[in-house]
Symmetry: C2
């Protein structure tokens, strides 16, 4: 049982693991920083604290972005998409968003370049 | 067997259904438009044609964004994230990105408002 508002919980369409995708975007610049996962409780904590809080599938535990690295996310705005399976977080990212040290998780591997 | 470059295929970390998440973002404004799914073949077709092409889990078939609505996506840039399970597409979206007619799939349901 999570503390999530039941009116919000009713609108979520979770995957078989009980998770929704969460995309974090930098306020102002619009950069897409990272994608991670949330269950109801992670979403509840994010809404209640305005600190980006996710659920780790590999470690099976909650993690607050930046708790160990200091690279915290202050959450300005949270939106749910039309089919209820993806959350968009508009955040102020402190330092690097990616655990590799890159500014975003999408910096390192370009599969298709912009045309000249 | 998809036509995807084996060097790219080797870097993908697919979910149990063989899919990676794909986030589409408007070029220039940075707006996050939608989230959908791709398998290797959908990614191959997107890279080869520069038209946003996804895999529908419910219909179990490929769909080219805008093929019926006319709301096509011209793909400028494609990036893979650090852990290989999420694609970022930088696109020019023609018309509404959301099937509801909204400009983006994240327009309708605000879970947490920006502070004053």
């Amino acid at each position: 049982m999570s503390g999530l508002d039941p009116a919000i919980a009713a609108r979520l369409k979770r995957n078989p693991d009980g998770l929704v995708a969460a995309v974090a975007q930098q306020r102002g610049t619009g950069e897409v920083l990272m994608m991670a996962w949330m269950d109801d409780e992670a979403l509840h904590r994010t809404l209640a604290t305005r600190r980006g809080t996710y659920y780790s599938r590999s470690r099976q535990q909650y993690w607050i972005k930046g708790e160990t690295s200091g690279h915290t996310q202050y959450v300005h705005e949270v939106r749910l998409d039309c089919d209820g399976d993806t959350i968009l977080l508009v955040v102020d990212q402190e330092g690097a968003a990616c655990h590799t040290g890159d500014h975003t998780c999408f910096d390192a591997d370009v599969l298709l370049e912009a045309e000249g």
